[in-house]
């Protein structure tokens, strides 16, 4: 029983990261109707950026967020201007398909680039307080991962505030709901797209940083994280960032449960199976409008 509880706690902490990873993908998909399957690679890049920032400047790993997030924002602007900005010119159906293909090409290129630059080895950021553990009711809670969970939630909350209090945040939501009506309200929809994409990339960068701190990065984690993000987006539906975060927690818990029940190797499979079932049965997810 205690092992199950322990596994669940660890699963929830990982789930928070799943939620953060999914938030960026959800934002971009909801607003631009673009499925960026290179999102996982952007997370990977964020992780490497954090790794090198910490190595170069000797910053506290969590402080590296302050550098990685703005850098990711800029990367998002560049990717939109150079690539995805062209994809949004097509109709919605063509757009989704093209973005899938382009995201795929981008993912492949980024993966190859990462292998060339940094080799296929796994990297992890070593933190001085990394081994600290909180003991609560017989459970061991790694402080590092708890901090990561808290940060992930904080970032999601910040995103939520941005989308509700900030003028352009509301414009982004309006564009997601009805871009023509947004235009008629005087909103420059292209600018809303750019902002949403940049924000999505920034979120990916943040997620990557946390992954590098609490777990590890290597060039191949891209596909893995893209799939996790996709699963959560489909589970939670579009339109609610908090809902997406909860969806991530649910996936984390489900994986922990299945790992406990069927054995370690089958953790992944259950998540994927749930994904396929929900996709076929209810494409709009559970929290979506």
């Amino acid at each position: 029983m205690r092992i199950l509880a322990q596994q669940l706690v660890l699963g929830l902490m990982l789930g928070g990261l799943y939620g953060l990873a999914a938030a960026g993908l959800s934002l971009v998909f909801g607003v631009l109707k673009v499925l960026n399957v290179a999102h996982g690679e952007l997370i990977m890049l964020g992780g490497y950026a954090a790794f090198f920032v910490v190595g170069l400047f000797g910053l506290d790993p969590f402080a590296s967020l302050l550098l990685v997030v703005p850098l990711s924002l800029l990367l998002g602007v560049a990717l939109y201007a150079g690539l995805f900005g062209f994809v949004v010119r097509a109709s919605e159906e063509t757009r989704v398909k093209n973005s899938l293909l382009i995201g795929f090409g981008l993912a492949l290129s980024l993966h190859a680039l990462a292998v060339r630059l940094w080799t296929a080895d796994e990297r992890s950021i070593i933190t001085p307080y990394g081994g600290a553990v909180l003991r609560v009711g017989g459970l061991s809670i790694p402080v590092l991962r708890l901090t990561i969970l808290a940060l992930a939630f904080a970032l999601i909350a910040a995103l939520h505030l941005l989308l509700t209090r900030w003028r352009w945040g509301r414009a982004i939501r309006a564009t997601a709901e009805d871009w023509e009506a947004a235009l008629l309200s005087g909103i420059d929809v292209r600018r809303a797209y750019l902002l949403a994409f940049a924000l999505g990339t920034a979120l990916a960068g943040a997620a990557g940083t946390l992954v590098a701190i609490g777990y590890s990065v290597s060039p191949s984690i891209g596909l893995e994280w893209t799939l996790k993000a996709l699963i959560v987006v489909v589970l939670a539906g579009l339109g609610s960032m908090i809902g997406t975060f909860v969806g991530g927690l649910v996936l984390g818990a489900a994986e922990a449960l299945s790992g406990f029940t069927f054995g370690g190797p089958y953790r992944e499979v259950v998540g994927l199976a749930i994904f396929v079932v929900v996709l076929v049965a209810r494409p709009r997810g559970f929290f979506g409008r």
């Binding site: 309006a174 709901e177 023509e180 009506a181 947004a182 309200s185 005087g186």
Partner: protein, 239 residues
């Protein structure tokens, strides 16, 4: 001052407008009548910048709007209340209205604009925290008109505002349009309810098959035999 000259708009190979010419003067209320599929919505959408015409021109206060983006057209003082209202359902009345004032020139006066909208539609003031999708059709239409008004337009265009709204509320919406016009805003109205719209419009055009087939002062059109037969007679039953 809106001047549409020989406007041609197509959806792929299908011609929706085949050379439309009309004007709306400053401070006028002009009605656009015609059967379904005549191209009335197409015309309004083209003026608002949502559709690119294949030929002809649209001039607003002397400027050619051909290359101007839809959101910039709002900044120039032209607002469209689209068919079906197209509100942001997941947001509140207040948020929808505020978004209407997104354009820079509208943003500067958004507090006054909001007051004016609430004065015009008192029901909205008490509902400003409610989600728009929870409102009735008539109330949603008020929000739609209000949102367009928040952009501080000099010309307000409306596409079938009375569609799906209880008759009593329709009358009050038309009354608001008259009041809006009295404050100096031009009104360009596409309406099914021909009798009602001709009763308060100054002029009207008749659009059929993508062309203007009739125009004149509203009173004159009310007497016009073709208009009477097609749109006002016992056979022309409107919902």
């Amino acid at each position: 001052m809106l001047e549409v000259q020989d406007l041609e708009v197509s959806y792929g190979d299908v011609r929706a407008l085949g050379g439309v010419t009309l004007t709306v003067g400053a401070g006028e209320i002009v009605a656009l009548l015609g059967p379904n599929g005549a191209g009335k919505s197409t015309l309004l959408k083209s003026i608002a910048g949502l559709l690119r015409p294949r030929g002809g021109s649209i001039r607003w206060e002397g400027e050619d709007l051909g290359a101007v983006g839809a959101h910039e057209i709002v900044e120039r003082g032209l607002a469209l209340v689209p068919e079906g209202r197209r509100l942001f359902g997941s947001m509140t009345v207040g948020e929808n209205l505020e978004l209407g004032a997104f354009a820079p020139h509208a943003r500067r006066v958004h507090a006054e604009s909001l007051e004016r909208v609430y004065a015009l539609f008192p029901a909205l003031r008490e509902r400003r925290g409610q989600l728009v999708r929870a409102l009735s059709g008539g109330q949603q239409q008020m929000v739609a008109v209000g949102r367009a008004l928040m952009s501080a337009p000099r010309l307000l265009m409306l596409d079938e505002p009375s569609l799906g709204i209880a008759p009593r509320l329709v009358a009050s919406i038309f009354d608001s349009l008259v009041e809006i016009n009295r404050a100096g805003v031009g009104v360009f109205l596409v309406e099914q309810n021909v009798r009602a719209s001709l009763s308060f419009a100054h002029r009207a055009y008749v659009l059929e098959g993508g062309r203007v087939v009739g125009s004149g002062p509203a009173a004159a059109l009310l007497e016009d035999p073709h208009v009477r037969r097609a749109y006002l007679g016992p056979l022309a039953v409107r919902a």
